[in-house]
């Protein structure tokens, strides 16, 4: 097998490991649209990275964090609903990214690669960043697992029981931004949220506990990456969409499984 294919495989698997458990929280907390909005900051991040000469993944990560920060601050105003706010900011930063890139004549950007992913161009530095994110996200989630679950079910109750609610929420945003930054390399900004959400949604039917769902989500993500990549090699179709399509098929198949963790089947 070619080197670039092995790097793609490793990168995709790493991204799926990073996205699996974080995706569960995105699904549980209904943050799908929030994630989509964050992903729209990718192009502006790429332009920023070029200007400051930093790794694209790091620059995208920083830009996603900045957008998340803006959203958090603006969420407190009551003038515009959060839903409308997400729609406004997401498309504003997306448009800004396109315009800034058009201005930068020295920058030759493969737009399609950023929109739909360019997994076959994963390099050594990318691999490092992807696996650092996967390890960091897994460790951070394990560390704050109970608190995160508690805040997910009820913020006020968690606060009364001594959970540092704001810090826990920020941690989750931080991890989501990191996952989007590495996932965008694999499946592109338009599909990155699919890599986060679909495996988690597909994992629900085979899980009786939150932990099982996090693990199942990771496994499904990894399987989708492997199958999608080989499928793209076999039939010469773009890898990112192939991965997302496989994950979607797995989600559809999961609907045929009777639900676990219902009707008192736990324990």
């Amino acid at each position: 097998m070619e080197d670039f294919f092995l790097r793609a495989l490793a990168g995709g698997i790493g991204a799926a490991i990073a996205a699996g458990p974080v995706g569960c929280f995105v699904v549980w907390r209904r943050m799908a649209y929030f994630g989509t909005a964050l992903a729209h900051a990718v192009l502006l991040g790429i332009a920023l990275g070029f200007l400051l000469e930093v790794e694209p993944i790091l620059a995208v990560f920083a830009m996603c964090l900045m957008l998340a920060g803006c959203l958090l601050l603006l969420e407190r105003q009551r003038l515009v609903s959060l839903d409308a706010l997400l729609g406004v900011l997401a498309h504003a930063v997306f448009a800004a990214g396109l315009v800034v890139i058009a201005f930068m004549e020295r920058l030759r950007v493969d737009l399609i690669g950023y929109l739909f992913g360019d997994i076959l161009s994963v390099g050594a530095v990318d691999l490092w960043l992807i696996f650092a994110t996967a390890a960091g996200a897994t460790a951070a989630l394990a560390w704050q697992w109970r608190n995160l679950l508690s805040v997910t079910v009820n913020r006020d109750l968690a606060a009364v029981e001594g959970v540092p609610v704001e810090r826990v929420r920020l941690l989750l945003l931080f991890l989501l931004a990191a996952v989007i930054a590495v996932g965008m390399k694999i499946v592109g900004m338009l599909l990155v949220v699919a890599l986060v959400i679909i495996p988690a949604a597909a994992a629900r039917r085979m899980s009786a506990t939150p932990e099982q769902m996090a693990v199942a989500s990771t496994v499904i993500g990894v399987l989708a990456v492997v199958a999608g990549l080989f499928g793209s090699l076999e039939w010469d179709v773009p890898a990112g969409p192939a991965i997302v399509l496989v994950a979607s098929a797995m989600f559809a198949a999961s609907l045929l499984i009777p639900v676990r963790g219902q009707g008192g089947r736990d324990e």
């Binding site: 699904v27 679950l149 997910t152 079910v153 949604a201 219902q262 008192g264 736990d266």
Partner: protein, 238 residues
């Protein structure tokens, strides 16, 4: 505005939607910081809180047992005993998303009791519960107060019918409108014939004694100015 809950005392907070009940509760719980004023707590006070809503979505696989131990781990025997105490029965292994509204209130109460609280704060524990179950829950809360000796702060949207064991009712409409002791309704024959003696014994009528009324914007104004609708309530004679 001034509100105090002493050990073993039951304070019921009543008021219409938007009266500021939830905000006041959140301030007392320390979730939001007040713009002015202060919250004084007995040092080392543990608070058990039962929120009005919890996010229960079947996309999150979570059993009642798991929910109860989200705050702190506890042995299974203790959880079973607690569920027994709040009258929820053997539902530890049931999914949180599938238990009934009444069961959920009891489970929330159990989670609050798990902390061995000195103060129990219950935000509308009767929301969506029928009258008979309401009176059972009231009875349960009174029993818990007697057994654990904790203070209870109860929020209710019902302006007139309050828990019979209430020591003080505080009526809120962006400020304390009035407060006082509720009167019994057990002597009210019509009520008894409607709901039976058991239900009637757990409920009490609170007579509001406002010395002002509120205009359309909710601003307080003197009783005699203007005509028409007055929020002054007369909730049956004790």
């Amino acid at each position: 505005m001034d509100i105090a809950v002493h050990p073993g005392e039951i304070v019921t907070l009543v008021g219409l939607n938007g009266a500021g009940k939830s905000t006041l509760i959140r301030v007392l719980l320390g979730i939001v910081r007040p713009n002015f004023g202060e919250v004084v707590r007995v040092p080392g006070l543990r608070v058990g809180y039962s929120p009005q809503h919890v996010h229960r979505d079947s996309i999150l696989p979570m059993t009642v047992r798991r929910f109860l131990t989200l705050g702190a781990p506890a042995p299974k025997a203790r959880l079973e005993a607690l569920l027994e105490e709040v009258g929820a029965g053997a539902i530890l292994a049931h999914p949180l998303a599938e238990i009934s509204g009444g069961e959920l209130h009891r489970v929330l109460l159990a989670r609050a009791l798990l902390r061995e609280p000195g103060l129990l704060v219950l935000d509308e524990p009767l929301a969506g519960v029928d009258v008979t179950s309401q009176s059972e829950l009231y009875q349960l809360i009174a029993t818990i107060r007697d057994r654990h000796g904790c203070g209870v702060l109860l929020v209710s949207h019902d302006l007139h019918l309050v828990m019979a064991a209430t020591d003080t009712v505080v009526c809120l409409n962006r400020h304390v409108c009035c407060s006082g002791h509720p009167g019994t309704i057990t002597s009210h024959p019509e009520f008894i014939s409607l709901f039976g003696r058991y239900v009637s014994s757990t409920l009490a009528v609170y007579r509001h004694s406002h010395d002002h009324r509120h205009d359309a914007l909710g601003e307080p104004m003197p009783l005699d100015s203007g005509a028409s609708r007055t929020p002054k309530a007369s909730g049956g004679r004790p």
